[in-house]
Structures are given as C-alpha cells and as structure tokens.
Symmetry: C2
Subunit: 114 residues, 2 copies
Amino acid sequence: MTEPTGDELVRLLGTLANPHRLRIVAALLAERAYVSELARELRISRALLQVHLRKLEAAGLVTASFEVGEDGKTLRFYELTPFSVVLTPAAIAAAVPTLTTPESVRGDGEEGRT
Amino acid sequence: MTEPTGDELVRLLGTLANPHRLRIVAALLAERAYVSELARELRISRALLQVHLRKLEAAGLVTASFEVGEDGKTLRFYELTPFSVVLTPAAIAAAVPTLTTPESVRGDGEEGRT
DNA sequence: GCCACCTGCTAGCTTTTGTTTGCATGTGGA
DNA sequence: TCCACATGCAAACAAAAGCTAGCAGGTGGC
C-alpha cells in the first residue's frame, strides 16, 4: 500500500472521497461492527450503508466476515484494514505512469504488440 | 495541510480521484505550463483541461497566473502548490468530527441553537 | 487582411454516483 | 404463530461529474 499503482490510487481516492464512507472508516477504527448496528450508529439506512460498505470492501479498505452473535443470530461483521498512503505531488507523479486508459487495456497487463 | 477538516479532505480526495487530474499534477510537478501547451502534452482538449484545472484550483492544488510570453502573447501559466496529506484510518477519524452535513450548515460555524 | 495561436465560456449530452423504497429470507423468543 | 431483528438484492429516480462541440475575443506575423 506504500506505492499503489495509478489505478489503485484513483480507486482509493474515489472511495474515500465521500463523507459517509469517511464516517464508516472512523466508526470501524473505533471498533468492528455488524451492518444493522453500524447503520443505527451512523443514522443512515441499511441499504445505503451496504452500498458504501461494498465500495469500501472493493477498494480493500474493510473486510467482512459472518459471525454468530450471543443470541444465535448471524451477523455480518466488518472491520477495518489498516492502510497508509502519503499524498504528495511526487507520490502522484510516481503513480501516474502506471495509469491505464480504457484503450490501453487489452488483456490485463501490457503485451507489447499493437 | 497537515490536518485538513473533514470537508476539505473530501474535496481534496474527490479532486485527486481522477486520472486526468493526477496526470495534470504530475505534469505540473515536472514544470509549470500554460493551458494550450499542457493540453497538447496530455493529449486532451483545451476545454476538458480547463475544467480539470478549475477543479484543481478550487481545491487549492494549483495556482494560475497570467504572463506574457516571448512573442508577446498572453499566456495563463499554472503551477503546482506543494501539499502533503497522510491517509490513514486515524487521520480520517480525526477529520470526521469536522464534517458538516447539508443540514448542519446554518451560518458557517456551529451556533448551538436548534 | 488573413492565418496561427492564445484565452474563455456554456449549452447539452452521457455516464457515474448516491439514495430511497420495497420485497424476500432466516432465526430466536414470547 | 407472530414479532423483532438480522441479511440481501434490485428497480427506479435524482444529483453530480465528465466531456464535446461550438462560439467569441485578443495579439503577433506574413
């Protein structure tokens, strides 16, 4: 996570560039929580929270796992994945060369042939 | 810039979460440039570049200034504003309390009354 | 005068994001 | 059985972001 690729950086930034998601990160830093609980804590609907959690998960910032609570209910716990990225012009310049454009994406990696 | 407010952080992240803008930052780190020149270098239209530059400027990441070139033409030069932000769960948690919600915005700061 | 290059602006379209609403399912306890 | 609480998913809509196309104005050089 010290030197993300350009695409990863864009995804990471795009994922964190949202008030709800920042609050989620902050809440999960304090302690892991299951969906419904977290929704109540943050005062947002479960559906909305789910969308945001999915995005955070897709970016690798949080991880989910099912667990059975004391009362036997199945709960989906989310917890934070530690990360640390330094945002400076130099760091950005280093990531830019690895940015892929829609067209430059052929297979997955670059294969040299036209 | 060491400890941006929640809103500033969101704007900063949102501004950088774009391939074009990252490229612009990288290009300006190498050297300041005027609009048309930069557009050619980045292979994007001037109109598009302008939109992105505007956004970067709004976020305080770049600054603009008019200058007269050797041939007497008026050029608008852009240059990078140094910045450094560390992105970690803790840093985010620190910024979250200062996030404002559309409703919580009355005057500007908080005034206690309902 | 005409061409080349600089600047700026915006109306309008497309795409992506964000959000709500509503339905379907499963389990434990009264 | 019925209620309370947990999960998941999708359709539909609203809002924001991204991009293009086109017009307009200015200056220097041939």
